[in-house]
């Protein structure tokens, strides 16, 4: 992956890279399709320096034979006008002017939608005000012809004063001709005379004149199919039904298809851990490698299938043109809570996992809208909460599956409602403002590109592994160390069980006794470890919520990743560390667990309090790492941790004290 430094000025790079070409264009003009055509699968993704806007860069050979040149191609973010106050426009202005950290390009290829020439030419007019050579790639000429438009590229070129090449990027038609012309422009180094169109009116008049001189035909008029589809997809009732079907299908596909590779990744890392344990001599190096490093990498890599698949599906949906319509459907609900309609995909994705959900906020154009969505997305109940919900609802409603199911569904509802209410509060406090009223270009409906979707999935997966993976692994190692040290002496209970195993007459009994000995030793280790000691110190803080030191350790270790709660409680309270809840013996043992004073650990009030806490608390270091990455600041990760933990604490406190007052303690 290219580092962001590849976009910065550097004498070494300047000497190594012959030419730099930037791709510019309105959204939905096929710019990314052209970039993928030029770069194949060799593109690298990084962020523009000092921003969270993704930049895609590729090295490509432009032109043929002796006239070919090697160039670095930078895919700039889609924008409507250079003069807008959006991050995309600012980045483009700085790149074109070679300001700040950017290296000035040698040529600009502006991708123009042939069906929508006037508006696109306004951007071309702005670009011609700079002194870099400009080549216009007139894309989707096939679609323009089908709509009854006849375009004269030569006349357009004469009118605007730069080369114009008609292409069909989707099919690769005339892309070679385009690259040949770009190579020629780069070799000659000739540029146009910058035009001086100072005002918007002048630019628009210039674009109108160019269109009048080069386009004949009036188009095919209203597209009745598009209008009917738009009416259905944005209808107050039908639109919601279609939305529910599409999203249901998408998330079913996500869960169904991601499960197998996730299981495979877990199995591979598990076997790798076992292999390391069996191969390396016992000691700190072995434990660090097997539990810290391999465990940390596994904890990151296991999310990869979900992230890649989600972005693959989002890219397909976006390509069809449906997502723009769906955004309006959800805008009606979400804008009441200060969130934009675009937030629905991130929030829904967060039900699978907050990591892809937060990364999907890149769809949201307004920075503050995006920030508000990132901050509340982890309140949606993710799949990592599932084992905890199963565990605690079974503690809460013993032998009452109907009530347990209602409580289970209630957890999801509580998470979603809390996210919306939190968004409303945040928009009145830390992220002041209302959701920006929605205005969107509704792109033409078309068949999605599988190649573009695959490239998007690969890029997003790679970006996740690089940025989040390193942080997640570092935190995992620290947490491993806290729970592994200092080493506890051999627990008397473990020694007794090991002796009993040695004396056992059959293998099954010996195996069972050894497993119990391991669990007893693990429990002793938890108690003696730094994590255990911290749990005892922190217990008074959690006492008003009904937690003893054991539950406190369970809650604290869950701040690494909430799914470890079940295995931690299992180890602490005398089960094995196998979190498989099908082992009813484990649940029974935990249900009978006692506090130091002999009273039951899991009362209805304690279980309900813990359930509410886990619904609302920020207990995922991976999510915090991705929040920091996507907001570009550790401050917002801190805000997320603080407000969610505070909300969880207060809600759990009210739950516990309320149930106690009602006599359900």
């Amino acid at each position: 992956m290219a580092s962001s430094s590849s976009l910065k000025r550097s004498p070494d790079q300047a000497a190594r890279v012959s030419y730099r070409v930037v791709l510019v264009g309105n959204p939905n003009t096929g710019k990314t399709t052209l970039f993928n055509r030029l770069s194949g699968s060799r593109a690298k993704t990084s962020n523009f320096p000092g921003t969270t806007t993704a930049a895609r860069i590729a090295h490509a050979s432009l032109g043929n034979g002796h006239g070919a040149v090697e160039a670095e191609i930078v895919d700039l973010p889609g924008l409507y006008r250079l003069g807008l106050s959006t991050p995309e426009s600012r980045i483009c202005r700085e790149v074109l002017a070679g300001e700040g950290l950017y290296h000035k390009p040698d040529a600009v290829v502006v991708v123009v939608d042939a069906c929508n020439l006037t508006r696109n030419l306004v951007l071309v007019g702005e670009l011609l005000a700079y002194d870099e050579p400009v080549v216009v790639a007139l894309n989707m000429v096939d679609l323009a012809q089908r709509r009854g438009l006849t375009l004269d590229a030569a006349a357009l070129s004469r009118e605007i004063g730069c080369p114009v090449v008609p292409i069909v990027a989707r099919r690769g038609e005339a892309v070679d001709r385009l690259t040949g012309i770009v190579a020629n422009v780069l070799r000659k180094g000739e540029s146009h005379t910058p035009i001086g169109l100072a005002t918007d009116d002048q630019l628009e008049a210039w674009a109108d004149r160019a269109v009048a001189a080069s386009v004949t035909g009036v188009g095919s008029g209203a597209d009745t199919l598009t209008e009917r589809l738009d009416k259905t997809f944005t209808h107050p009732i039908l639109g919601v039904l279609v939305f529910a079907l599409v999203m249901g299908g998408m998330f079913w596909t996500l869960f169904a298809l991601a499960a197998l590779p996730m299981d495979l990744i877990e199995a591979v890392f598990s076997r790798l851990g076992v292999w390391v344990t069996e191969t390396l001599p016992p000691g700190a190096i072995r434990d660090l490698t097997a539990d810290g490093i391999i465990g940390g990498i596994a904890g990151t890599a296991v999310f990869l299938p979900q992230i890649c698949l989600l972005f693959f599906l989002i890219s397909l949906l976006e390509d069809t043109g449906y997502l723009a319509r769906a955004a309006f459907v959800m805008d009606r609900l979400l804008c009441r809570f200060g969130l934009p309609g675009h937030a629905f995909v991130p929030l829904l994705s967060s039900h699978a996992c907050a990591l892809p959900g937060i990364m999907a906020t890149r769809l949201i154009p307004d920075r503050r809208d995006r920030l508000a969505t990132i901050l509340v997305a982890p309140l949606m109940s993710c799949s990592a909460r599932l084992p905890v919900y199963v565990f605690l609802t079974s503690m809460l409603f013993v032998g009452q599956p109907l009530y347990a199911a209602v409580a289970f569904a209630g957890c999801y509802l509580l998470g979603a409602v809390s996210a919306l209410v939190s968004a409303a509060v945040l928009r009145r406090t830390l992220v002041k403002g209302t959701a920006r009223p929605m205005v969107l270009e509704l792109p033409t409906y078309k068949m999605p590109s599988f190649t573009n979707a695959l490239i998007a999935a690969r890029d997003q997966g790679y970006a996740f592994l690089k940025t989040a993976g390193t942080i997640i692994m570092a935190i995992s190692i620290v947490m491993w160390w806290l729970s592994a040290y200092p080493k506890a002496p051999e627990a008397p209970e473990a020694v007794t069980l090991q002796r009993a195993a040695s004396a056992a007459t059959n293998d099954a009994q010996a195996h069972d006794l050894l497993a119990r000995a391991d669990a007893a030793q693990a429990r002793a280790q938890q108690q003696q470890s730094f994590a255990g000691r911290i749990g005892r110190v922190a217990q008074p803080v959690f006492a008003p919520l009904g937690y003893d030191w054991q539950l406190t350790v369970g809650v604290l270790t869950s701040f690494l990743a909430r799914e470890v709660f079940v295995s931690t409680m299992s180890v602490l309270l005398g089960g094995s560390d196998d979190p498989d809840l099908a082992d009813t013996g484990v649940i029974a043992r935990i249900r009978q667990a006692q506090r130091d004073d002999g009273s039951p650990l899991f009362t209805p009030a304690t279980s309900a309090s813990a359930l509410v806490f886990f619904v609302l608390a920020m207990q995922c270091t991976s999510t915090l790492a991705v929040t920091r990455q996507e907001t570009g600041s550790i401050k917002w990760a801190g805000v997320q941790l603080a407000y969610m933990s505070g909300l969880a604490y207060v809600a759990a406190l009210i739950t516990y004290q309320g149930l106690r007052a009602a006599g359900l303690s």
Binding site: Y80, R81, G83, L84, S85, C115, N116, T118, R119, V122, R147, D200, D201, E204, G219, A222, T226, E227, D230, K231, T234, P236, A324, R325, F328, D331, R332, C335, R436, P437, M438, V439, L440, E441, L442
Partner: protein, 85 residues
């Protein structure tokens, strides 16, 4: 209130036009950034637009571009109706 009665010169909110009506953009009473974005999308001064769908969202067509606007925005965009629906 429906505006598909007769051509007139009085600007009315875009949100009051029915599907099928054409109109010319007169002015916009919106935030500066919203005005700039609408203009960049093609909703320029005196441009001719056709309402493809009224309500929430309001969908208009301007020079082959289809633009969706939330009702809030459509209320702040003033147009002069041009033709009968």
């Amino acid at each position: 209130m429906s505006a598909n009665v007769a051509p007139c010169q009085q600007p009315i909110p875009l949100s009051q036009l029915r599907a099928g009506c054409t109109a010319r953009l007169h002015s916009a009473d919106l935030a500066k950034d919203d005005c700039a974005l609408l203009k960049a999308l093609g909703l320029t001064d005196r441009c001719l637009l056709r309402v493809c769908k009224a309500g929430e969202p309001c969908i208009v067509e301007v020079k082959a571009t289809r633009i969706g606007l939330s009702r809030t925005l459509a209320r702040g965009v003033f147009v002069v109706p041009e033709a009968l629906a």
